[in-house]
């Protein structure tokens, strides 16, 4: 058995690992330090590639043996042919891109399926903070203040579902997390994170 089985998995990583079948070809947009790709490579024998902009994070990817290209995900997908990958992952990176619509459509072009993980800016804790305190919410999943957040796009799970409907992207699966646990009811109210498996023909 691989030693990766001993690692305590992040709940969102666990869900994404569940969604992807062994030996798939995977592209992770905004792959950070390459942890997820490393897990996919070692636990699922996937062929993995990442795109990341931060130099230090890239050093980490290289250390993990993850193939990575330095680049901006707003433009970095032009390099790939249609449906090159079985899965394209956008986990916790969509809210940081300038043109999310183009990035999702591009991801749908190069990937047969797309996995998008987004923080839910309209979960109950955030709503209460806005309503009672009159302040922009700060939560465990959104720990930043307005002046230092890397997030430039704020959306709820509901907003994302609407977007998919509008663009004719079908949501094959939707998995939601409250803190560490998966939840199934009133997700737009209670979930902190939503992970969507998308398909666009």
């Amino acid at each position: 058995m691989t030693k990766t089985n001993d690692i305590i998995l992040r709940p969102d990583h666990k869900i994404i690992l569940d969604l992807i079948e062994p030996k798939a070809r995977v592209l992770d947009l905004g792959c950070g330090d390459g942890k997820l790709l490393y897990l996919l490579k070692n636990m699922k024998d996937c062929r993995v590639t990442g795109i990341e902009i931060d130099e230090q994070a890239i050093f980490k990817c290289m250390e993990r043996g993850v193939t990575v290209s330095q680049g901006d995900i707003d433009t970095g997908l032009e390099d790939y042919f249609d449906k090159r990958f079985d899965y394209v992952i956008l986990n916790e990176s969509l809210q940081e891109v300038r043109n999310p619509q183009r990035v999702i459509l591009e991801a749908c072009r190069v990937g047969k399926k797309v996995i998008v993980g987004i923080p839910n800016f309209c979960n109950i804790s955030a709503r209460l903070q806005v309503f009672f305190m009159g302040k922009v919410p700060v939560t465990k999943w959104l720990p930043y203040k307005w002046y230092n957040t890397p997030n430039i796009r704020f959306l709820s799970l509901k907003d994302f579902r609407h977007f998919c409907r509008e663009k004719n992207i079908s949501i094959v699966k939707e998995r939601c997390l409250n803190q560490e646990k998966e939840i199934y009811l009133r997700t737009n109210l209670f979930a902190f994170v939503g992970i969507f498996l998308l398909n666009k023909n």
């Binding site: 050093f59 290289m62 990575v68 680049g71 390099d79 790939y80």
Partner: protein, 417 residues
């Protein structure tokens, strides 16, 4: 050893070794100086010997890309580390334009270690406790391999301009002979910065089954108009020197002014505006105020003059013409689409560029990355943020080492080396 008469002169002068690198180190790598001093103690180290390999003896001359036949051909080379039993741990390092086979370690009498000593050695990025590292001087050069300063066996005089024009492909193919001579069928890796990178790329294209990993640093797949233009100025500087005599200056006065000017141009292109500003600014040389004449006022002027003058002592002017021409001829996409040319590559590739390198800017490597990705070739690409310009591949040891060490380690694991 049959060192040619004309080159002996140069060779003797060469014993002074690459003073340029010393200066680079002094300026950029102060911590390494301590390292060098401790290593320099002869009791702690073994001297490196430069070896030679001669092939293509008449009538079996080597056919150059131009169609001209050349032979015999001698290649000077050095090796570091040990070749393992199944000869699977060899890494071939290609040097840059004015480099040589002395990539690492110390030769007897050296004042400085080899030009990539920060990267090659025990426990370093190209770890000689695991890998067998080879570096050979290219043909057309003047550092022990056959070039225009070598004696033409037909005339018993230096070739001069009768030496055939060589290409990057010729330089690469001749090194394949050396690798076969060493009994190596497949390299674990090949690498190079600048011109060396062009050769590593050429190797990956020519011999896809003969290398597992290719590392391309501060390089390009074709020389652009700007790169050709800068070289042409350097060539014109040499050829306009009255001492150049159509390349027939051996045993007479050297075209020193032309060489110095060409090297000054070269050095400007190897630095960045920021690194020059940081190093020299507008500092004056031993003067309180401007001289209002045409003597040197600024440190940067003095520095370029020093670099130019020391180059005359260590490099052959004709070799500079030949090698710069070979670079300018290089265009991997000349036979069509770049992606189609790279299609056959079977190795994993790491491409490294530097943000301030305006001689081989990153966008050129990004075009290569795109063409490799189009072919589904496993390629990693990193642009290191640094102010040292094109010289970064020689001085950015720490960040390059991180990348190279892990890249090689992971591939070694995959192939169970």
């Amino acid at each position: 050893m049959t060192r040619e008469g004309a080159c002996v002169n140069i060779q003797q002068l060469l014993e002074l070794r690459v003073r340029e690198l010393e200066e680079l180190r002094t300026i950029f790598l102060t911590p390494f100086i301590f390292n060098s001093i401790t290593l320099n103690s002869p009791t702690l180290m073994q001297y490196i010997q430069t070896q030679t390999f001669t092939f293509a003896n008449p009538p079996h001359e080597f056919a150059l890309k131009s169609g001209v036949k050349l032979g015999p051909i001698t290649l000077a080379y050095e090796t570091y580390g040990r070749l393992n039993g199944d000869k699977s741990n060899a890494i071939l390092v290609f040097h840059a334009l004015t480099g040589d086979a002395h990539a690492a370690g110390w030769r007897e009498g050296d004042k400085n270690p080899g030009w990539w000593d920060g990267m090659i050695g025990d426990g370093k990025a190209f770890d000689t406790s695991k890998y067998f590292v080879i570096c050979a001087n290219v043909i057309g050069s003047c550092k022990g391999s056959t070039g225009p300063a070598s004696i033409d066996p037909k005339t018993n005089k230096p070739y001069g301009l009768s030496f055939p024009v060589v290409t990057i492909e010729d330089m690469t193919v001749t090194q394949k002979y050396l690798i076969e001579h060493l009994g190596i069928k497949k390299l674990f890796a090949c690498t190079g910065g600048s011109m060396g990178g062009l050769m590593a790329l050429k190797w990956a294209v020519l011999y896809p089954e003969s290398v597992h990993a290719v590392l391309l640093i501060a390089t390009n797949y074709r020389h652009t108009a700007q790169q050709i233009a800068l070289h042409e100025v350097a060539r014109q500087a040499i050829m306009s020197d009255p001492n150049w005599h159509g390349g027939d200056y051996y045993g007479k006065g050297l075209p020193a002014r032309g060489m110095a000017v060409s090297r000054m141009i070269g050095h400007i292109t190897y630095m960045s505006e920021k690194s020059m500003e940081a190093k020299f600014g507008r500092k004056l040389i031993a003067k309180e105020k401007l001289g209002y004449d045409f003597s040197h006022d600024f440190e940067v002027e003095n520095y370029l003059k020093y670099r130019g003058d020391s180059f005359v002592q260590r490099f052959d002017a004709n070799s500079y013409l030949y090698l710069s021409k070979a670079l300018d001829y290089f265009d991997l996409s000349e036979e069509g689409d770049l992606a189609a040319v790279l299609k056959g590559i079977r190795s994993k590739i790491l491409i490294v560029t530097f943000t301030s390198d305006w001689l081989y800017p990153s966008y050129q490597s990004k075009q290569m990355v795109r063409a490799l990705k189009a072919n589904d070739i496993d390629v990693s690409f990193v642009e290191i943020d640094t102010d040292y310009g094109h010289d970064s591949f020689l001085v950015e040891i720490e960040s390059q080492s991180k990348l190279v060490t892990h890249f090689l380690d992971n591939i070694a694991k995959e192939i169970s080396l």
